[in-house]
Point group: C2
Chain length 207, copies 2
C-alpha cells in the first residue's frame, strides 16, 4: 500500500481531533461530523481511513477509542523515535524545548551546535554537544530523526553530515532547497514561503 503525503497529513489531524473527543468522553463519531470540523468532505475522510482497514460500523460511524488505536499504530506512532536537533539558535532552542516534552512517540535525545561557545550550555534538561560528536550520538541513542535549525549557509553540509551519521529522516527549517539523498525521507518547513503565499492571496483578493 502506498499512502500519499496529503492523506498522511490529514490522518494526523484526524488523530489529534479524535484524542480531544476522547478526552471529552465522546465514544462515536461519523465521517460527516469529522468533515464539518475540518472543512473537508465526508467521503474523503472515509477514503483516508479506509486505506488502513475497515474501522467503521455501517449505520453507526467510528468508535473513537478503536479508531485512535488503529491509526496510532498504522502511522508508526506507538514506537518511540529518538530525534536530535542541530543548531541551537533561537529557533532551534525553542523547537528543542517545544518538542522536548518527550511523549510516547518522539524523544529529543540530543541537541547540537558547531559553536564551541554554546557547547556545554543547557537547553531544557539537555546539554548542548558539539556537532563533531554527531556520529557517536546517533549510534549511542539510535537516533532516527534529525531536525535542522542551522543558518541557511550551514544547512547543506549539516544535512549531509546527518545523513552520513546514519540519521534516517530529516526535518529542515533552514530557508534553502537542499540537495536531498534519494530515498531518504525529508521535509522542509519554510515560514517565509507561507507568508509569501498569504501575501499573494491578499493581492489576488483586491482584483
Amino acid at each position: 500500500m502506498d499512502v500519499s503525503s496529503l492523506t498522511l497529513n490529514r490522518l494526523s489531524l484526524y488523530l489529534r481531533c479524535l484524542r480531544t473527543l476522547q478526552e471529552e468522553g465522546t465514544e462515536r463519531i461519523s465521517s460527516q461530523q469529522l468533515a464539518e470540523r475540518f472543512d473537508l468532505s465526508a467521503p474523503l475522510i472515509r477514503k483516508d481511513l479506509a486505506q488502513f482497514g475497515e474501522f467503521g460500523i455501517r449505520g453507526i460511524g467510528y468508535e473513537v477509542d478503536h479508531l485512535i488505536d488503529r491509526l496510532h499504530s498504522a502511522l508508526g506512532l506507538d514506537q518511540q523515535h529518538p530525534l536530535l536537533v542541530v543548531g541551537m539558535g533561537r529557533l532551534g532552542t525553542a523547537l528543542a524545548r517545544y518538542l522536548g516534552f518527550n511523549d510516547a512517540t518522539f524523544r529529543v535525545v540530543a541537541v547540537l551546535d558547531n559553536d564551541a561557545e554554546k557547547v556545554g550550555k543547557e537547553v531544557g534538561d539537555l546539554t548542548i554537544r558539539h556537532t563533531d560528536e554527531l556520529e557517536e550520538i546517533v549510534r549511542e541513542y539510535g537516533v532516527e530523526l534529525g531536525v535542522l535549525t542551522v543558518p541557511a549557509e550551514a544547512a547543506q553540509p549539516m544535512y549531509d553530515a546527518l545523513v552520513d551519521a546514519g540519521v534516517q529522516a530529516v526535518l529542515n527549517f533552514a530557508p534553502v532547497s537542499l540537495q536531498l539523498r534519494p530515498g531518504l525521507p525529508s521535509k522542509s518547513v519554510d515560514f517565509r514561503i507561507h507568508l509569501e503565499e498569504l501575501v499573494y492571496f491578499l493581492l489576488a483578493k483586491e482584483d
Copy 2:
C-alpha cells in the same frame, strides 16, 4: 488568473534561488538548470513561470535579473506588509526575532501577549503589548498579517480576535485545526504533523 498554492510555493523557491544566482553573478538560467536544483521537471517550472507572462527567451533561457523583478512584483513582494506576532512564548519570541530583520517585504510592527507579566518586556527592538490593544494596534500600523504562536487552547479565540480586529491573513503555528473565516487566507504550520509523516515513511521503507 488563478494560481494554485503548489505553484506559488514553488515560485517562492525559484525566487530565492534566483537571488542567490544573482549574487553569484549568473546572468541567465534555463528551466532545465533550475529543475536540477529542485528535483523538479523542467516543463513544470516553465508552466509555473508562464502563469505570469512570457519571461523567457527561446533558445536561451531566462534572464536572472529580469525574472527576479517580474516574479517579485507578481507575487506582491515589492510592497511592505506590516505583521504582528501574538504569543510571546519561546516559539513566538524566536519567530518574531527571526522575521524581525524587517526586509522590504515583511515588517514586524508589534508583538503581543495576553500575560500581564510579559507585557512591557523587550523582544528585539519591540516592546510586548497586551492583546487587549489588538484592535488599536492593527489600526495604528495598518497590520495585514497576523502570526499566531499561542498555546493550542488559546488559538481559536485569538484567531477570532485577530480577524475581528481587521487582520487580513493569518499564519498559525498552534497545533489545532482552526475554524476559519470563509474567504480569509490562512495557513497552518504544524511541526508534529511533519514529524509524523516522516515516521510513516520510515515505517513504510521497512516493508
